[in-house]
């Protein structure tokens, strides 16, 4: 009984201690800085609707900063808006606009400096340089924020959610538009990126560097300048994401460079110039992905090895797979290819002749891009047909030995 009474007492003690400080034009505190200065650890600062221009708000105590009806915090295009320098801070329900622009200081809407357990949720960020910037954070939750920037040039724009040298981050349900990179990860480990929407960013929807053992699941990346890029990492899990409409040369649904021991499962690649581009990748399992209406389904360079491509659907792509050399150390078995023309005599749903996803014309275009001029001309289909009968240029080993007769899902 005794410990229980103790806990209850403790509970009431803290209850009594945690006060709520109201900020608003008709309240005791007219501005947020004053309330922040007087707040103690564990307090809540409730901010009423209004337009606050308070230069940089620096939070140095572990408090909850909560906005009612989205009070506007204005950086006047000169200042960083909120700096968080305490553990366990909660920032909830603000509209943060017009941060300053400085590549030297990386001015942001909200910046977390070397802290743990910070929660940033339900905020609207408009016209900020960097949106939410976390440097050296641990176990922070960034949830349901809406970030919009309107810069045209890469130099004039920062990243939406920028995590640097962090661990155990959760980035959930955010919407990011118009930034340089939608979500940027560098040296971030054991983190999850879940259900975010990253649309129309200037460079990448998601940019991933030296970040090991992370997962990104059920995100939607659409119409970003160069798609999504995952580089120099191992143990990355990519599940059920949608990569859509990333157009242009150098734009890829998903760019993988020097990735090892990773999983790409259940993703959808639709209408990209290239669905996946792989370079120097190894030991990657690709399963149950859908490649539909892309220019190139997969561009897999000869520098990749031990890539297992199984049970994927390739539908309506101009070229299913292309490569740049004759060395093939990867396996492509049990996929469905809509261009497969083989037969299945024993009716086990597996085609009896192997399928070669690399067409002769795609090799020609790879070596000599202007040959795109002859796309869909009679001569190229003639060349493809001859090559199918007698492979000479296309890599001998790149084939699906067990192509499926029906699509998977």
């Amino acid at each position: 009984m005794k410990p229980f009474v103790f806990i209850i007492t403790l509970f009431f003690y803290y209850q009594a201690k945690a006060t709520v400080l109201y900020v608003g034009s008709d309240r005791l505190y007219k501005n947020i800085s004053a309330a922040l200065a007087l707040a103690a650890t564990g307090d809540t600062v409730l901010v009423g609707a209004g337009h606050y221009k308070e230069k940089t708000l620096t939070v140095t105590k572990s408090i909850t900063l909560k906005g009612i009806n989205y009070p506007v915090l204005d950086g006047e295009k000169k200042y960083q808006v909120i700096s968080i320098k305490a553990d366990g801070v909660v920032v909830d329900g603000f509209k943060i606009i017009h941060s300053g622009i400085s590549s030297l200081e990386d001015l942001s809407g909200i910046k977390i400096y070397d802290r743990k357990n910070v929660v940033i949720k339900n905020n609207i960020l408009e016209d900020t340089f960097f949106g939410i910037y976390i440097q050296n954070g641990t176990n922070c939750l960034i949830q349901d924020n809406r970030l919009t920037a309107s810069s045209r040039e890469e130099q004039q724009s920062g990243n939406g959610i920028h995590c640097w040298k962090s661990d155990s981050m959760q980035i959930i349900g955010n919407t990011i538009t118009g930034h340089r990179d939608g979500i940027y990860f560098e040296f971030v480990t054991h983190s999850v990126i879940w259900r975010n929407t990253s649309v129309k960013n200037i460079r990448y929807g998601l940019h991933f560097m030296f970040s090991h053992n992370d997962a990104y699941i059920a995100n939607h990346f659409k119409n970003n300048g160069a798609g999504v890029s995952v580089m120099y990492s191992h143990g990355v899990k990519m599940y059920s994401n949608i990569f859509e409409e990333n157009w242009g040369d150098g734009a890829y649904g998903l760019l993988l460079k020097e990735i090892t021991d990773s999983y790409i499962d259940g993703n959808t690649f639709i209408k990209n110039t290239s669905g996946i581009y792989m370079e120097g990748a190894s030991r990657i399992h690709m399963q149950k992905n859908l490649f539909k209406n892309n220019g190139w389904g997969m561009k897999i360079q000869a520098s990749c090895m031990d890539i297992e491509v199984t049970k994927n659907n390739f539908i309506g792509n101009t070229f299913d797979v292309s490569t740049n050399g004759s060395l093939v150390l990867n396996t492509f078995d049990n996929n469905y290819w809509d261009k497969y023309e083989g037969y299945d005599l024993n009716k086990d749903q597996v085609g009896d002749v192997p399928y070669r996803p690399v067409s002769m014309y795609s090799m020609i275009v790879e070596k000599n891009p202007p040959a795109m001029l002859l796309f869909r001309s009679f001569i190229t289909s003639l060349l493809d047909k001859t090559e199918k009968v007698l492979p000479s240029i296309t890599p001998e080993g790149l084939k699906d030995n067990k192509p499926m007769m029906k699509r998977f899902f």
Partner: protein
């Protein structure tokens, strides 16, 4: 002139081959649209028909027609008519009737199933191709007196425009692979009406593959209003120039 055109057209439209050609086009386009699950895929299959069959039929039929109406032409020449008028009416009759055949065979189904910019463009380009190859056929026919040789030349010309030219382009591309050829390729494509038509249609349809670096350059040119205008201008030149040359030749020809 009107009378001759009317006569030529009614003669051709009653011709069994043109009827079969129209019917064939109509059946293929209708079946293509009803077989494919989405209409843009149907358009793609139709594209091959337009780029191969239409020029072939236009060029061979016109050549044969011109040779077969040699006596009719001689009769007309003996009348108080200008040679230019006779030749141009013959051209107008041929081009008009083959265009009508194409419009009924492909144009109407396309506009029924795909009544958008691509559909209109495809119909327009198909008609232009018919006219261009009638013009080329007439040039070939007026240049060679022998019927067998003339038809051979027509077939060779078709072969050149639909296959050999592309082979040459591929050869050139590999010979000059070290040079930036993207912009030059735009110019080269103007040398072949079939290539030009194909690129024009594809750039409005199958954008995904064409959007690589080269595709972007093509898109920059062919996708803009000026680029479109220039390409259609080039196609018009392709139809006018052979007609003009053949008219000049016919004026002086000893029949």
């Amino acid at each position: 002139m009107k009378k001759i055109i009317k006569y030529v057209m009614s003669d051709i439209l009653q011709n069994r081959i043109v009827l079969v050609y129209t019917f064939f086009l109509l059946v293929t386009s209708l079946s293509v649209f009803s077989l494919e699950d989405n209409n843009s895929k149907g358009l793609l299959s139709l594209l091959n028909i337009i780029l191969l069959i239409v020029p072939l039929v236009s060029i061979i039929f016109s050549t044969i027609y011109v040779y077969n109406s040699a006596e009719f032409i001689e009769l007309l020449v003996s009348q108080p008519l200008k040679r230019k008028v006779i030749w141009l009416s013959l051209f107008a009759g041929l081009a008009g009737s083959l265009s009508i055949a194409f419009f009924i065979g492909v144009g109407i189904p396309v506009l029924l199933f795909q009544p958008n910019a691509i559909g209109f463009m495809m119909t327009g380009i198909g008609i232009l191709l018919s006219i261009i190859f009638v013009a080329i056929a007439m040039l070939a026919a007026v240049k060679t007196r022998d019927k067998a040789k003339g038809i051979g030349v027509a077939i060779l010309l078709w072969l050149y425009f639909s296959i050999l030219f592309d082979g040459l382009v591929l050869f050139l591309l590999f010979q000059f692979a070290d040079y930036p050829l993207e912009k030059a390729m735009i110019g080269i494509s103007a040398l072949n009406p079939i290539d030009l038509s194909r690129i024009l249609i594809l750039l409005h349809m199958d954008v995904s593959a064409m959007m690589g670096y080269t595709g972007a350059i093509f898109k920059d040119f062919f996708g803009t209003g000026t680029g479109m205008a220039i390409s259609f201008g080039v196609l018009l030149v392709w139809s006018i120039l052979p007609v003009w040359m053949s008219t000049r030749r016919f004026n002086r020809k000893d029949l």
